[in-house]
């Protein structure tokens, strides 16, 4: 049903720490391997060994540069998947009712049994979070691993999205944004978690932690060490004095 729930009990989502992400693509492939064998149709790869391989991925990592005039440029690795928006335009545009936002946890999902593959939801999403699978003809998107996070067949500590469990640098955090005491809420509060394209009014649940300031771009440099002596004889004098104390 494409009407958004008025409220959701929980607001599950991700915090992505751009200060820690090294751009290794671990989350991209872990997502692919989990989701190609679970929720809904597999994530296909067309022309897999050919000239133009195009596969369905629910999470992709971009690399950006950012530069201020006269300063060194910075590199930022930027993972991007569905942000599970509170005001998800992808849900309301859906003509078939396949797209919906869960009232219990806010996860935005596609019910593939109703999806006709028109692609309008992907057009409505500003973030490029939805991809129509070329072989199955249905819309695929991040499920926040809804078949992991409540899964009683896997150990409790592993009940997090596959991307979060695998992230080597610990740049991805999963939790409930409706709970101000949750890990994700605290991170957002402490580190100034931000929305992507806030001007579009989508109210994303997922938040991004901005890179911390870089010492070489806009930091101050510690002053030089004070020399004991510039001459070797002076150095030896220091050496003798210090050795006496040892």
């Amino acid at each position: 049903m494409t009407q958004l729930p008025a409220t959701t009990d929980k607001k599950l989502g991700l915090v992505i720490d751009l200060d820690t992400c090294v751009g290794c693509h671990a989350c991209v492939i872990s997502c692919k391997e989990w989701n190609t064998g679970s929720y809904g149709a597999p994530l296909s790869d067309v022309d897999a060994y050919g000239a133009n391989p195009v596969g369905t991925f629910l999470n992709r990592v971009h690399s950006f540069e950012a530069k201020q005039e006269g300063c060194p440029s910075q590199t930022i690795h930027f993972p991007k998947s569905c942000l599970h928006c509170d005001d998800a335009p992808c849900v309301t545009v859906c003509p078939t009712g396949a797209s919906y936002k869960r009232s219990e946890d806010g996860i935005v999902l596609v019910n593939e049994d109703q999806c006709m593959g028109c692609g309008l939801c992907a057009w409505a999403c500003p973030y490029g979070a939805r991809e129509l699978d070329a072989m199955a003809g249905v819309m695929k998107k991040c499920t926040l691993c809804v078949d992991r996070i409540y899964n009683e067949n896997i150990p409790e500590e592993d009940r997090v999205p596959s991307c979060v469990r695998t992230c080597p640098a610990g740049a991805r955090h999963f939790g409930d944004f409706a709970d101000p005491e949750s890990n994700v809420s605290k991170l957002v509060a402490e580190r100034g978690g931000m929305d992507l394209m806030p001007e579009l009014g989508t109210s994303p649940v997922n938040k991004y932690l901005p890179p911390r300031p870089k010492a070489d771009v806009n930091g101050t440099q510690p002053p030089a060490l004070e020399a004991q002596s510039t001459e070797i004889t002076g150095f030896l004098g220091w050496l003798d004095r210090t050795l006496e104390k040892i």
């Binding site: 008025a6 290794c24 693509h25 679970s38 195009v54 540069e65 899964n151 695998t166 040892i246």
Partner: protein, 945 residues
């Protein structure tokens, strides 16, 4: 319809039928993996939470293991070549025929002249076994890929402090407050580094990245130092200058744990000049300030002097520290003197030195853990200097890499941050001094084993592998005056030397997992020509090539006999303490692979094949007295082989009672115990033994118990390395073993007992105005060597590799988006797609390594992007330096270790329009695929959804 409707979901689906835990092999990290099996197929691979290496995380490669395991490029049968070399025409044969061909080639070689077999393994994780096999075969021509990878780092570390980075040790991620990372190929120790960086970030530590390229780890560094390639050594020595000048060195540490107080002979011109002064019992001496006498350095209560010329037994000598201080306090190393060359402002260098000193000495950390040193002295606390460092290929793949690696280790030692809390920590079986390592062995006897292990650490000119005429004994010319400390061999020289018949012709080249006709060779096009070249009689110049690989790589096309290997999920393996294990700083660990999936092709694990081949050849250790095979396969070897009595490939669950740790007789159920435990074994170190390992009595005793040593082996760090001085003395004319005249000056210059920096060789030989640009490669985190390309998922991430061009060069040459670049070195030219990158050293260009592929390889279509836009930088690099006009061609290698100097490359660039066919050049002729081409489309997992 006012109520919100949503479908009911099964949020607890059964994930898999079974989880089989083994070890990853998607790169060299050796992480533990949980392989979820469903209906006999691999469904999902995740990191093993209990595993010491990755603790549950897994990189992109690891997760893409499914696609690697089911890759269409997998070889299916043994094959023999029926076309010309390089063509790729093969005929399937049986294993019996393959063994007959192999024994037919190898048996006569062994009986007549074992050195005619050159056996080189590439990214082999079973070197203790392959080396043992080669030793028993009797050839001296064996090595793995370290010579073109990171031997400078390894040897620099061993010769300085008994270990280096990665398998040897790691930063204290939990306690470090300042971390400096220098040029790291992102596949080396990748998950542990990523996890470590995450910890540092969470702890609020500062990360300084020293790298010409701000990508990956450097992207998240709190401070990026975009150094000019090849100048890391100069930068480090300038930091040392600043620290010495300010007196910010840990004198107590240097006196206790290093050879800095040792007395060094200062009688110029003498044959002992620059060597340590010893007493009659061969003890190295220090000057005791308390008694005014020279005493053995281990003397309890001595107060060693750190400066001052003294006379001992009639010999003028002084502490090594004074020599070091004198050397680095000169104006040569002031920040102002080096700034321009390193591309970092003098102020930045000074402030980084200040930051190191501040954190090391003002943020000292103390653990209240008592410990006892090897002299018996008790210490109440462990004092930490929380500055940690890490480096890899970026600094080591230069012709000055050995000395640069030593400089970096010495920087850490001077601030007292090695083997202390917050600093750099060794992983058992390291630390291990040079003396605890073997020397190289090279005595070949027909029909008998080599007289010892091939590779080792020479202690002086007497350990070089030279014949009576001073000629190289090994085909790769390792351990010669050109590169005396080539501890990992020089795999990158084997094909060109064998082709040239220099120092001699070989009969059979036997290789494993080394893509030498492609991305693993410099000078790729010429190497392919050498492999194909025929003499005037129409015979191949390199007569026979046997190759083992699991996949249809570029090298397959050049072999005469193919022994198809299994995938990593189909095999037994041991990541052994005898080799390069998976230990952590707090524990001893090893691991196995086991067939979690049975092969569906007629393929066999290479090590099992090697064991059968050894048995058929009757090699010692591989046959019983009655001539029957001693081991059924590699698994049998892993359990039952003993290298020393009670010490075998696997350290866990040894002995009858299955509780032996490190020592104990073979346990037939050992592999089962490993499998039950998740494929690995770990034995943690007591906190009191976890630091100061080279000097910690408790650690040393534990190491003996575990079979790491047979006796306690404490030692001090050899900041001043007299072994190097021995070579230098020879170059000055001392001793019987003399370098050839042409190499005297190079040996004198390079074998300095204290680190030096010199300009990378290539840039001293080319016109720097004509070739003003540095060209580098990096390995993407999501790909490993050439393997990743056959992987349907990974190749979508890196299917092409643009040349990244610094913003400065981009503007200077008038590049626009979509343009291509012609890149020229003294050796060759490539035409490739160009992309701008601002966060890059201004005089540098770079690309991802090993993305470009030969058409027809890896079961890809012939118009795959990897073969069109993709390219190799290797075409621009030669294994020899440009001619100097002295009639000699010098190796493009480090003059100490022979490490391939990949990163010395100098080029110029020119903007061009993209070619109409978007084909990079050179475009190598295609090879025929013995496995056909992969399927068009895939939808993996459709049976489960």
């Amino acid at each position: 319809m006012t109520k919100h409707h949503q479908p009911k979901l099964d949020t607890s689906p059964v994930v898999s039928d079974e989880i089989r835990r083994t070890t990853c092999y998607m790169c060299a990290c050796r992480c533990g993996i949980n392989v979820h099996m469903k209906d006999g197929k691999v469904k999902y691979i995740e990191g093993n939470k209990d595993h010491p290496v990755n603790k549950g995380v897994l990189c992109a490669k690891g997760s893409a293991g499914i696609m690697q395991h089911y890759s269409p490029s997998r070889l299916r049968n043994p094959m023999k070549r029926v076309g010309e070399r390089g063509e790729g025409k093969f005929e399937d044969i049986s294993w019996e025929e393959a063994f007959e061909i192999a024994t037919g080639l190898l048996d006569p070689i062994r009986k007549n002249d074992p050195k005619k077999l050159a056996f080189f393994t590439g990214r082999d994780q079973s070197q203790s076994m392959t080396g043992w096999w080669a030793q028993n075969f009797g050839t001296l021509n064996y090595a793995a890929h370290g010579g073109f990878c990171s031997v400078n780092m390894a040897a620099g570390g061993i010769y300085t402090m008994g270990g280096a980075f990665w398998e040897f040790g790691a930063p204290d991620w939990d306690r470090a407050k300042l971390f400096m990372i220098f040029g790291v190929a992102e596949d080396h120790d990748s998950n542990p580094i990523k996890m470590g960086l995450g910890k540092l970030k969470a702890n609020g530590a500062k990360i300084i990245g020293v790298n010409p390229i701000r990508s990956g780890y450097n992207a998240i560094a709190d401070e990026w130092v975009g150094i000019t390639p090849g100048t890391d050594g100069l930068f480090i020595l300038s930091l040392i200058h600043e620290l010495l000048k300010a007196g910010k060195v840990d004198l107590d540490y240097l006196i206790r744990y290093t050879n800095m107080p040792f007395l060094v002979n200062q009688v110029e011109g003498s044959a002992e000049y620059g060597l340590m002064v010893r007493d009659a019992d061969d003890n190295q001496l220090v000057w005791d300030r308390a008694t005014g006498k020279a005493v053995p350095y281990e003397t309890k209560g001595a107060k060693p002097a750190m400066s001052g010329m003294v006379e001992v037994n009639g010999v003028q000598c002084r502490p090594a520290f004074e020599i070091l201080a004198e050397k680095y306090l000169t104006d040569e190393y002031t920040p102002d003197a080096v700034a321009e060359r390193v591309g970092i402002s003098a102020d930045r260098i000074r402030s980084i030195a200040a930051e190191i000193a501040r954190v090391a000495f003002e943020e000292e950390i103390t653990l209240d853990i008592p410990w006892t040193d090897w002299k018996g002295e008790k210490h109440e606390k462990m004092i930490g200097r929380p500055v940690a460092m890490h480096a890899m290929r970026g600094i080591s793949a230069h012709s000055n890499g050995f000395q640069t690696a030593r400089a970096l280790h010495i920087l850490q030692i001077l601030i007292g941050s090695v083997e202390v809390p917050g600093g750099f920590r060794f992983k058992p079986p390291y630390p291990k001094s040079v003396e605890a390592h073997p020397k190289p062995h090279h005595t070949v006897t027909p029909g008998a084993p080599l007289n010892g292990p091939h590779l080792g650490y020479p202690r002086g000119p007497e350990d070089l592998c030279l014949d009576e005429d001073g000629k190289a004994k090994r085909i790769d010319k390792a351990f010669t005056w050109e590169n005396p400390l080539s501890a990992h061999g020089l795999m990158h020289m084997v094909i060109s030397n064998a082709h040239a018949g220099d120092p001699y012709k070989i009969d059979t080249l036997f290789m494993y997992m080394a893509n030498m006709s492609w991305n693993s060779s410099m000078n790729t096009t010429k190497v392919m020509d050498m492999l194909k070249d025929k003499d005037e009689d129409g015979n191949y110049v390199i007569p026979n090539i046997i190759y083992s690989d699991a996949y249809s790589s570029e090298m397959v096309a050049f072999a005469d006999l193919i022994l198809p290997d299994t995938t990593y999920l189909e095999r037994h393996d041991c990541i052994s303490l005898l080799d390069r294990p998976i230990c952590e700083a707090d524990g001893l660990a090893d691991s196995i692979r086991w067939p979690v999936v049975e092969p569906d092709r007629d393929v066999r694990g290479f090590q099992s094949v090697l064991i059968e081949l050894g048995a058929r050849l009757g090699l010692p250790g591989m046959v019983n007295e009655d001539g029957s095979a001693k081991f059924k396969d590699y698994a049998d070897y892993m359990v039952n082989h003993e290298r020393r009595p009670g010490v075998g490939p696997l350290a866990g669950w040894r002995g009858k009672d299955q509780d032996g740790k490190g020592r104990g007789e073979p346990n037939p159920e050992q592999i089962d115990r490993y499998i039950e435990n998740g494929g690995f074994w770990v034995d943690h170190i007591e906190p009191s033994n976890a630091f100061y390992k080279p000097w910690n009595k408790g650690y040393q005793e534990w190491a003996v118990e575990r079979g790491i040593f047979d006796k306690e082996s404490p030692y001090v760090f050899t900041v001043y390395q007299e072994i190097l001085q021995k070579f230098r003395l020879a170059a000055e004319g001392h001793g019987d073993i003399q370098p050839p005249e042409r190499l005297r000056e190079q040996v004198k210059m390079a074998m300095d007992p204290l680190p030096i920096w010199y300009e990378p060789f290539e840039q001293t030989l080319v016109d720097n105005e004509e070739y003003p640009v540095h060209a580098l490669t990096q390995r993407p985190m999501a790909m490993y060597h050439s393997w990743g390309t056959q992987n349907a998922w990974l190749r979508q991430i890196h299917g092409t590799n643009p040349m990244f061009i610094s913003g400065e060069l981009w503007a200077e040459h008038g590049f626009n988006e979509g343009d291509w670049a012609v890149v020229t070195s003294t050796h060759g030219t490539i035409t490739v797609p160009a992309v701008r990158m601002d966060a890059l050293n201004g005089k540098t260009i770079w690309t991802w390594n090993a993305i470009g592929k030969r058409k027809g390889a890896w079961a890809l279509s012939k118009d795959a992007p990897e073969t069109k836009k993709g390219f190799l930088l290797n075409h621009l690099i030669h294994e020899l330096l440009p001619a100097r006009g002295d009639g000699q061609r010098w190796n493009n290698s480090d003059p100490v270790t022979g490490q391939a100097a990949w990163f010395d490359l100098r080029v110029n660039i020119k903007r061009v329009d993209a070619p109409a066919d978007l084909q990079s050049s050179p475009d190598t002729a295609p090879q025929i695929s013995p496995v056909g081409q992969g399927p068009k489309d895939i939808a993996y997992g459709k049976e489960w959804t």
